[in-house]
């Protein structure tokens, strides 16, 4: 079970409680570490939380169903993180592969 907190920016925060912990107290402490961001919260099953986080910045709780929605307006601005620059070893391997292909053509 997760606690989905609606935030003032239109997004959601997904709280995971440690077994036996008090939900109301955890919410109050979350508010102290996230001033003026709380709107409301409700429980959702773990299965309602997407496993693909590509559009995490566009997650929202808009519809009444127990599921995470995607704010399409925000999703349009989500840019995937650029791939890291290749290492010297990776470039050398690519060069070797290209060299082999060129030699095969000769």
């Amino acid at each position: 079970m997760k606690i989905v907190i609606k935030t003032t920016d239109g997004g959601v925060a997904i709280m995971t409680l440690v077994s036996g912990s008090d939900e109301a107290q955890a919410i109050e402490k979350w508010k102290l570490a996230n001033p003026e961001k709380y709107v409301s919260h409700r429980q959702m099953p773990d299965s309602a939380i997407p496993t693909d986080r590509t559009f995490r910045a566009a997650w929202a709780d808009i519809t009444p169903e127990l599921t995470i929605d995607i704010d399409m307006a925000k999703a349009a601005y989500v840019q995937p993180e650029p791939a890291p620059a290749p290492t010297k070893e990776q470039l050398m391997a690519e060069l070797a592969a290209l060299t082999a292909k060129i030699q095969a053509l000769e």
Partner: protein, 178 residues
């Protein structure tokens, strides 16, 4: 040579024979668990065994006494001991291991809030944090964006100052007064 016990030649059951400078004498039997205590040149006596008393929270926090004992219960009060620690998944939705934590919250990409069970006495405590994972070409930095006595929020950013999830895990340890 026969040993003469003053007053009675029948040894006392559980008693211990000692010398008084002139004759041999015997102590009375002690009680179960008691230890024999020297009284210098006087007759030894049985006394209750006494160990170190457990240190109070104040004594643990002062960390100066050498005459009280640290116990499993009060060791957590010592200033050199982590009061909170946590390893959580990079997406902030599951906990691998933790101590004194009640919840974690995935606030969005590269942002997590941790709530504490037994709060610190104020917001003035130390948080060390790392993003676990290995990739020589990825540089990430964790920083604390908000801190209260019973909770804190951490962010993970890349070189372009964009929030991103850590490569494989969030890790925290907190030190301070409770």
């Amino acid at each position: 040579m026969p040993v003469t016990i003053v007053g009675n030649n029948t040894p006392t059951a559980g008693g211990v024979v000692y010398g008084d400078g002139t004759n041999y004498a015997s102590t009375a039997a002690g009680s179960s668990g008691q230890v024999l205590q020297s009284n210098g040149s006087s007759a030894p006596t049985w006394a209750n065994a006494s160990g170190l008393a457990a240190a109070s929270q104040a004594e643990m926090e002062a960390a100066t006494s050498n005459t009280v004992a640290a116990t499993p219960l009060n060791t957590k009060s010592h200033p050199g001991v982590a009061k909170v620690w946590l390893r959580a998944a990079a997406n902030g939705t599951s906990i691998s291991a933790s101590y004194n934590v009640t919840s974690i919250t995935d606030n969005g990409p590269g942002s997590i809030t941790v709530t504490i069970d037994t709060d610190f006495s104020s917001a003035n405590y130390v948080i060390t944090t790392f993003g676990a994972g290995s990739n020589a070409n990825v540089s990430q930095t964790n920083w604390i964006s908000a801190q209260a006595a019973g909770s804190f929020t951490a962010e993970c950013i890349n070189p372009t100052f964009t929030n991103v999830d850590p490569l494989s895990a969030w890790m925290f340890a907190c030190f301070g007064d409770q």
